[in-house]
């Protein structure tokens, strides 16, 4: 019984992950939460949505490149269309005009590309500040950050990590925390073991992302 559960969890690093999870909770409470509260007090919801759209738009080259790497030509076209519409008509990406015109947003990254190429996800890893990930997705994130992200090339072209890239990382981080803080708090309140519930939710959402939203395999309920 215990063995099956152990294998299903695929979390051989669990003791370390839980320790990192605790560290992260501490950082979150002491540092991140006050910043987000301040951010929300200063910038109204509309504005924060605009910033979220803007940052999402900046990220679209990464999505585009990974669409191509996965052979998803139609989706690559959608990404391009969104980039053009939102940057132009949407005022540098602040307004998600494309969504209103029916071109849905989607997200691709190198971790998903590796998955599509057949790489298994590897053990679950909880990284302070970055949150839940897997061995494969962590590597994918690194590759996106240094290779597929055009901002990274710009930085290297002009010399060491410059303020543009720091500003981008910083604001992307705050935006991510702003968007995910409330759902995560809610998950914490409705679960017994928040660490396990988060691990489970992460895996399920990730699997759906990799399938590009197609219906997944359903477990049989009746035993």
């Amino acid at each position: 019984m215990a063995r099956a559960a152990y294998e299903e969890n695929n979390d051989p690093l669990e003791p370390m992950n839980r320790a990192m999870f605790k560290v992260d909770a501490g950082i979150d409470k002491a540092l991140i939460r006050p910043v987000i509260k301040g951010y929300r007090a200063v910038v109204p919801a509309q504005g924060r949505k605009g910033i979220d759209n803007f940052l999402n738009n900046i990220r679209s080259p990464i999505t585009f490149i990974n669409d191509i790497l996965q052979g998803e030509i139609t989706r690559a076209g959608q990404t391009l269309g969104r980039m053009a519409l939102n940057t132009g008509v949407g005022f540098f990406g602040f307004f998600d005009v494309a969504e209103k015109w029916g071109i849905e947003d989607h997200n691709e990254d190198f971790g998903q590309t590796l998955a599509v190429w057949g790489v298994g996800d590897g053990p679950y890893v909880y990284v302070p500040l970055l949150g839940p990930t897997t061995a494969r997705d962590g590597i994918g994130f690194g590759i996106d950050a240094f290779l597929t992200d055009p901002l990274a090339w710009y930085s290297r072209g002009t010399g060491a990590m410059n303020w543009v890239e720091w500003a981008y990382f910083g604001s992307a981080y705050i935006d991510t925390k702003d968007v995910t803080m409330d759902p995560l708090d809610e998950l914490k309140k409705s679960s017994l073991d928040y660490y396990a519930a988060l691990r489970s939710s992460y895996r399920q959402i990730r699997a759906k992302e990799i399938r590009n939203g197609a219906p997944g395999p359903m477990e049989d309920f009746d035993q």
């Binding site: 679960s191 992460y202 309920f221």
Partner: protein
């Protein structure tokens, strides 16, 4: 979390916690609705009239929600799925205690969010077969700021009619998440009784917060 689209994560996680926003059916289907879709439409509509927008006290709403949940959801089936191998290993008293506690957990977790209902609407998108005698009904919940997320209802046809077995929100299954949460608690506390104790505490805390 950069390795997962923050939007996918936000909608997935917030959706699983937002299960109480069942809403009236604003159907966009021209043809006659088959059984399963109509079933979902009916009870979500009932949920909004009798619970979410009803002008009654919280305790009354909780009772109505409890009754609806026991009527429309296959609580014993869900409980067995959530516990998997641990169900068969538990004594009948433990099984009964678990089922009652699980029911309380669902009622008090979701009733906390009743007041957040804000006129969202539910649109049935369609349905497909799900196993031997199951149906998957796909729907979308549309919020006021044009936010939307997908909710799939897994139904089984039992002798007494359809029963909901699971809700999958933006890819996150309620039953699977509970299962992985609870199996971790059992292995961490070392026993089934450990899980029951934590569930009892959670229910007590939730009730206290809501003044129930």
């Amino acid at each position: 979390m950069p390795t997962l689209s923050r939007r996918a994560f936000a909608s997935g996680v917030s959706a699983i916690a937002l299960l109480s926003v069942a809403a009236p059916l604003s159907a966009v289907m021209a043809q006659a609705q088959p059984d399963a879709a109509a079933f979902v439409g009916d009870f979500t509509r009932k949920g909004i009239t009798d619970i979410l927008s009803a002008p009654t006290a919280t305790t009354e709403k909780q009772q109505r929600f409890r009754d609806m949940f026991k009527t429309y959801f296959d609580l014993p089936g869900i409980g067995r799925f959530v516990l998997t191998r641990y169900w068969a290993a538990a004594t009948p008293e433990e099984q009964a205690k678990f089922t009652k506690l699980f029911e309380d957990v669902i009622v008090y977790t979701w009733s906390r969010r009743f007041s957040e209902y804000n006129g969202q609407s539910l649109m049935i998108q369609g349905q497909q077969a799900d196993g031997k005698d199951g149906t998957l009904v796909k729907s979308t919940i549309v919020g006021n700021n044009s936010s939307h997320f997908g909710v799939d209802w897994r139904l089984r046809k039992r002798p007494e009619g359809f029963k909901v077995l699971d809700i999958v929100i933006e890819g996150v299954s309620m039953a699977i998440t509970y299962r992985q949460d609870y199996s971790t608690v059992i292995s961490q506390t070392g026993s089934f009784a450990g899980l029951l104790a934590q569930m009892e505490k959670q229910v007590a805390d939730l009730k206290a917060q809501q003044g129930a």
